[in-house]
Symmetry: C2
Subunit: 390 residues, 2 copies
């Protein structure tokens, strides 16, 4: 660090500020830290810590804890108790958005990712891009209004949506939603916010969410399959999202084409006509009929399962994850797990554990929130060249 | 660095030694560095550099350049020319081994990876593990003898072989070679050498080789397919080998099972009987017949291609690499490339570039050598906590 700090006092100030914020991160009112504890935690001098804390209070990121004596482990000393400080998680809000074929959803959190509100709205699967954008804008406006959140309090917005998404948030290719291919989604949404807007593929967002709060907590090599009619997958490798060279990793929707047009909507049909490509209600009916023993529905289900096993096996053989999380449909997937496990045992040299999504239909919006949180954390808690400090 | 160096003088010495070696790495006789140049390159003090250089000369890793005046750019000064020093790439040798179904191969290099010899021997595809091990031992012994290399000069041995390989070099699962599953290959080979022996999956070794010296130079997101009768794949993600959670990433051999037993040996057969699973000569005959227009052979070839496209598409959709390298058969693959490209264009949202292996049947042994070189470089040129020094 010596070279850096000798040359750039403002960088030094930022590093110190980051180190103090990190020490305070996650400290809520009862767990606030005194100056003495901060000096010990940061290895900075007391005057430096005092200066940094004053700056952070001024910036609204740190507050003096209301009742220092109430701290657990805080011994009741005589005289004036030492002042203690906490991170102001309420200093900003983060937004996670899902823009999907059938609905849009928004979740709101504080700067530590603690949920403070959510709202979901249906949208017609045939809606054009403008109508869909209008729907998400309206949903966000209503969520902010209901929770009494000022738009200026937003520090970052994450978005999860189907398709191949460029780094700037443009949808390079998105066949699941009308008018989605080529849409400058990030740019369009940025007009509604004064903070960064980060767009991510929906399956990528979903795997981040399951890793954060769901079925993949503590597991760093994960494939998550969104087993819908327009299937997709997101992968973590060594705890990091694998987007692929062109952002198209896990776009397994085309795999079924290799099987001579045996699309999910055809496989799941109990008539000679395929289902509508996005009619998930029809899918739920087939699943339900299969459960009560209807012969045609069970055969349709078997065909669909063979297809799903094939797609999933391809992903598993390519990536060899520790854990496979299956999600994407609100209902009906519970019957999928056992046959999927049995088939993967047959085909994979080292089959992964197979579990259901724990977050269900909140996975994409939650993952989008995680994207916003990651962005904010990297802003607040890391400084280039001091990434491992604290 | 200050914390480290204040506490551990031997670590400090190692760091300084590493820094000097790095500065000298790749310097061959005409490009040797003077003490003054080393002081400038390392930012160490002159007495420190002098001490380190003396130590490295004693350890045999550095030599005084024979003719300092001959250096390009070395100005002819009056009086005695300044002494200059170079890395002794000849101070040790590295070995890369391939142990495959039909042959074993060994390549030898100096400490910079410059080839100094190679030897290939056929082995029967039905040979048991002991016979195969004996074959590679004999090949190594003959290569060392022919090149006049002392066994003690070996600093590391890399090995590439089919199967899922554990970190300690045990083959967890290897169906391509008789008696391979469960073989403690690393341990068995270590008895023949006094240096580290590192075992890697053959397709993983091959992709490392193509990245180092072949078709994937300068490309960091690569899938390499060994399109043999027992197909496999190796992947680089961000320039690093992706082994998977259990070392099974890219083991796509089972994918054909999903297609109802349509194995390559059945697809490529021009009679009712499948080919022998490892009979690559028969494959070459089918390829040759197809090229001269034989109908049955062409249909067999088409069936095989459809299969290959399927397996490769699965990998590409899962990983989204920048480049796909196709190798694994000595001959016949040139006709595969164009149809493969056309089909990938159809099925992949973002199709990768598709090229043939440049290293051909030397890819696996070359990659094994790269594994040995990586090990040695990390020994010589990196110190924990000083990984970015120099």
């Amino acid at each position: 660090m010596s070279k850096l700090t000798g040359r750039d006092p403002s960088l030094l100030r930022r590093i110190n500020s980051t180190v103090v914020l990190r020490a305070l991160r996650g400290t809520t009112a009862p767990a606030a830290l005194t100056l003495t504890e901060l000096v010990r935690a940061t290895e900075l001098s007391r005057p430096t810590v005092e200066g940094v804390v004053e700056d952070l209070i001024e910036a609204g990121l740190v507050a003096e804890a209301a009742d220092a004596a109430a701290r657990p482990g805080g011994t009741a000393r005589r005289g004036r108790p030492a002042r203690s400080f906490r991170f102001r998680a309420e200093a900003g809000q983060l937004l996670g958005l899902e823009i999907g074929p059938h609905r849009v959803a928004a979740v709101l959190s504080d700067l530590t990712g603690r949920l403070t509100g959510s709202l979901t709205r249906e949208v017609d699967e045939t809606a054009e891009a403008e109508a869909r954008l209008e729907r998400i804008r309206g949903t966000v406006a209503e969520l902010l209004r209901r929770t009494g959140t000022a738009r200026d309090a937003l520090r970052a917005v994450g978005v999860g949506t189907p398709g191949i998404v460029e780094a700037d948030g443009t949808v390079r290719l998105g066949t699941a939603l009308p008018g989605w291919t080529g849409l400058a989604l990030g740019e369009r949404l940025r007009r509604s916010f004064r903070c960064p807007v980060l767009v991510e593929n929906d399956a990528n967002a979903a795997v981040l969410a399951e890793h954060w709060k769901g079925a993949a907590r503590g597991v760093d090599d994960v494939v998550m399959v969104l087993a819908g009619l327009s299937p997709g997958a997101g992968s973590l490798i060594g705890g990091r999202l694998h987007r692929g060279f062109g952002g198209a990793a896990g776009e397994i929707g085309a795999l079924h084409l290799l099987g001579r047009e045996v699309t999910p909507e055809r496989l799941l049909s109990t008539t000679d006509e395929p289902l509508h490509p996005l009619d998930e209600a029809a899918v739920a009916r087939v699943f339900a009929e299969a459960r009560v023993g209807d012969g045609r529905a069970r055969r349709a289900m078997d065909r669909f399962l063979a297809r799903l096993v094939h797609d999933v096996a391809a992903l598993v053989l390519a990536l060899d994850p520790e854990l496979l999380v299956v999600g994407g449909w609100a209902s009906g997937l519970d019957g999928v797990l056992d046959p999927l496990r049995a088939e993967l045992e047959r085909y994979c040299l080292r089959p992964p554990r197979v579990v259901l999504s724990r977050l269900g239909d909140t996975a994409v919006a939650t993952g989008a929130l995680r994207v916003a949180l990651d962005h904010t954390e990297s802003e607040l808690f890391t400084v280039e060249g001091a990434g491992t400090a604290g």
